[in-house]
Structures are given as structure tokens and as C-alpha cells.
Amino acid sequence: MLGKLLKHDIIATWKVPVALDAVLIVLGVLTAFAVQGIHSVGDSVGMSIFMFSFVGVFYIGIIAANIITLIYLVVRYYRNLYTSEGYLTFTLPVKTDMIVHSKVITGSVWMFLSYLFTVVSLLIAGAGFIKATHVTPAELKESFTQINAVMGLTDPGFIAIMILVFLITPISGILCMYFSVSIGQLWQNHKVLGSVLCIVALYIINQFISQIAFIGSGFWQMMGSPDVDAIFGRIYRNMMLIISIITALEGVAYYIVCLVINRKCVNLD
């Protein structure tokens, strides 16, 4: 039954995330042309302002595309489960857990793709920038080598951590929102307000956790260190590892709570 639920969830949701992913690519391509334009227009102030504005629009656009995808998926989760549509969803002859699994898998896939297309869009825009600034391959390699020396970009540990972050963040992000919506349903009245308050509370808690990760990673050691470059990569890696572990644990907790609420506490008034 999970396969059927996934099939119908994907059919019902694919249009908006795919359209927004396409927008991301288009924005990347247009920005790549725009940054080349900045260098080709020379001293034309008006044109430069226009081109720089375009780059600003690009950044706002990629953030907006990700937020819209997230909001779209969360609204669908809310409507499908907790409004009148829930009368159909919860009377399907499937286990409630399967319904939640399907929503989480579908939401995670679309959020993951949204992140992936954001990276692709940034790479396209970045390629345009490199081309516009006439950076030679040798200069590019030199820059990479310098950054690599500090960050350890080619280090398998760093790559593994970044892949982990890239996989965990979208899943935990969507689970956080689903969790908040489900928590909101426990309110007798003002269910949406309950969800929003939960999101705000989680944001504050996550900021607090980030600060702990910041401290735990040894970030403050850098303040008095004579050779920041030598320790920056290690500290950054530690911080990303701590944050990804905490994010993963949070995701698991959100998931379990969503399952329990939908299994035991659904009350479609």
C-alpha cells in the first residue's frame, strides 16, 4: 500500500516542485548571462545597477523557490491530513504509519531535489561569473588549492560530512514542519496558531543548539590562535558534524512524534 500512497502523493504534488526547480535553473542561466553582462558593459552605471540587481533577484529567487516548495508541501500535509480531505485519507484501508511514511518520503524527495537544483543553479551562475571574470584554469586551480589547504575540501571526511548535511537537512527540515503541523492539531482550537507557535519555538531551540555546536566544535579557540588557517578546517568540520548529528536526531524525534500523533491522537472535528 505504501507504493500506492507514494504514487498518488507524487502525482498530486509533482507540478509545483518541478516548476520551481525549473525556475531555479532558468534563474541560474539568466544570472550567468547577467554577470557576464556586468563585465561587458564597462562603465555604464545604469546597466551595472541593473545587472547587480539581477544578481540580487537571483539570490532572492533561489531562497523563495525553496521556501515556496516547503510551504506547498506543508500546506498539502495539513490539508490532506487535518482538513476535510483527512476524512478520505484516514478512512483509506491502510495503516496510519504508511500515510505518514508516504508524506515524509514524498516531501523529502521534493525538498532534496529543491536543494540539488539550488546547487546546480549556483554552479551555473558561478560558471558564468568565472567566465565573465576571465579566470584562467590555472588561477582557478590555485584558488581551489588555497581553500583546500584551509578547509580540506578533498578530504574524504569533509566530503562525507557535507554529503551527510546535504541529505539530512532537507529531510529534517520537512519533518520539522510536519511535526509542527501535527503538534498544532493537539490544540482544541486555534490549530494553525498552535503550529506556528511550535515552529517559532523550534526555531529558538535550534538557534540555541547551534550556539552549543558552535562552542562544542572549539570555534572560540580560533579567537586567540596565531594560526587560524591551520585549525579553521578542523573546527568547521567538527561544527558541521555536530550540527548534522543533532539535525539527524531531531529528525528522528520529529518523525516519531508525527507517527504517534497520527496514530493515537487524530481528532478530525
Binding site: 500500500m1 500506492k4 504514487k7 498518488h8 502525482i11 498530486a12 490539508r79 490532506n80 476535510s84 480531505e85 483527512g86 476524512y87 478520505l88 484516514f90 478512512t91 483509506l92 484501508p93 491502510v94 495503516k95 482544541q188 493515537k264 491522537c265 487524530v266 481528532n267 478530525l268 472535528d269
Partner: protein, 232 residues
């Protein structure tokens, strides 16, 4: 053999308000039962608990010997008192959805009923009027070969002609071995199709008997008895 539906000591409270108070009853197969009561008597609450949409405060519901869950949902075809279909899909896609999830869904019956009403299966639900969407929903629910149909206010808010169509659809599309539980406060419209009635008042069953029994013993119609029992 177990009953089609068994409700045991069922209570539902919303804070201090008791919506259902210690309900006990059983339904057998092959009957059309009217769940009758004024607004706020607990009809919808009872139905939602049977369908697994509300959690009872205490007590239990068994459907063909199974607690509310996957097995009970396989045999119950539920029509809520509101539209539960998303607007984005077409009628045909909604039929495909029902086909995928309900083994007892009869696709031919659904298309036949749609054809009789002149509803285009390729039409998107958002393009249909509220009344037509409700008819599509009724067609979907009655196209299942379920053991228990639970219809919550199927004729509320529709014109008399539509009421006739809905009632006709109900009585001509259910297997006689199945049962139908119809919740309504429009007694006179459904009276002729009912075998039994449950009168629900302030969350308690005040009467559960056959329609013929009311007519022969009380010398009244169900509507007449209803007006007497629920006199303000």
C-alpha cells in the same frame, strides 16, 4: 458469527462536554438504519469514531469482529457531511484513486452512474459545482461493494430533486447483504427506506427499534415519533 457493528460502552468527551455517553448497540447485516437526532445530538461524532476519524474517550467499536483499523476500513464505505475530495484531480483520477485503494470498488458502476448524470469523467473537480461534486462523492461511495455504508447527512442542503436522486442511488446500489447507516435530521425524506432507527439525544440512545414496530405499536410515523421525542 459476530455482528456487523458492535458499539460497547462508547463515550466521547470534549473537555467538560459529553458528546456521547456510554453507547451500547449492535447492527446486523442487511438493514437500512436511520441514525436520527437533532443537531448536536452526537450523530457525526459517533460516525467519526466508527470510521476512525475520532478517538473515543472510552469504550470500543468492533466492525465484523475487528477493532477500528485497516480491516474495518476495508468494509466501511463512508460519505462525510462535507466534500473530502481535493480540487486538483479530475473525476477519472479520483476513480483511479478509489480503484487503487478499495478492492471492492466497482469501476463500471461508477462510470455508469456518472454517465446517467451526464458528468464528464475528464472534468476537474474544481470546475464542478458544489452539488455536482457531492454527487461525484456519493457515486464513489456507492460504487464500492462494502458491507457497511455510513452516510452522514447525505441529503442535507440539497434541493428536493437531488434528494430523490441521492436516495434512489443509495437504495439501488447497495448489496442487500450490506447495511446502511444514514445520519439525518430530515426524517420524512428517508423514512420510507428505513428498516430500523436509532434516536440519539444529547449523546445517548433514547430509542433503537424497527420502523414497523413504531408504526404498529405507536401508530405513528417515524417523523411523528421523532417530533414527539425531540419536542423543544
Amino acid at each position: 458469527m459476530s455482528s456487523l457493528l458492535e458499539v460497547n460502552s462508547l463515550t466521547k468527551k470534549y473537555g467538560n462536554l459529553t458528546a456521547l455517553n456510554n453507547l451500547n448497540f449492535e447492527l446486523e447485516s442487511g438493514h437500512i438504519i436511520g441514525l436520527l437526532g437533532p443537531n448536536g445530538s452526537g450523530k457525526t461524532t459517533l460516525i467519526k469514531i466508527i470510521c476512525g476519524l475520532l478517538q473515543p474517550t472510552s469504550g470500543s467499536v468492533m466492525v465484523e469482529g475487528n477493532p477500528v483499523g485497516v480491516e474495518s476500513k476495508k468494509v466501511i464505505s463512508y460519505l462525510p457531511d462535507t466534500t473530502y475530495l481535493g480540487n486538483a484531480a479530475s473525476v477519472q483520477e479520483t476513480i483511479d484513486f478509489f480503484m487503487d485503494f478499495y478492492e471492492d470498488f466497482d469501476q463500471d458502476r461508477a462510470y455508469d452512474m456518472l454517465g446517467k448524470l451526464g458528468i464528464d469523467p475528464s472534468a476537474h473537480l474544481r470546475t464542478l459545482s458544489k452539488g455536482t461534486r457531492e454527487k461525484v462523492q456519493l457515486i464513489l461511495v456507492m460504487s464500492r461493494r462494502a458491507d457497511l455504508y455510513i452516510l452522514d447527512e447525505p441529503i442535507a442542503g440539497v434541493d428536493p430533486a437531488a434528494r430523490d436522486y441521492i436516495l434512489n442511488t443509495i437504495i439501488t446500489n447497495y448489496d442487500e447483504k450490506a447495511s446502511i447507516l444514514i445520519s439525518t435530521h430530515l426524517i420524512s425524506d428517508v423514512e420510507n427506506i428505513l428498516d430500523e432507527v436509532i434516536f440519539l439525544k444529547q449523546g445517548e440512545i433514547v430509542r433503537f427499534c424497527g420502523v414497523d414496530e413504531i408504526r404498529s405499536n405507536e401508530g405513528k410515523s417515524v417523523d411523528g415519533l421523532f417530533r414527539e421525542v425531540f419536542k423543544c
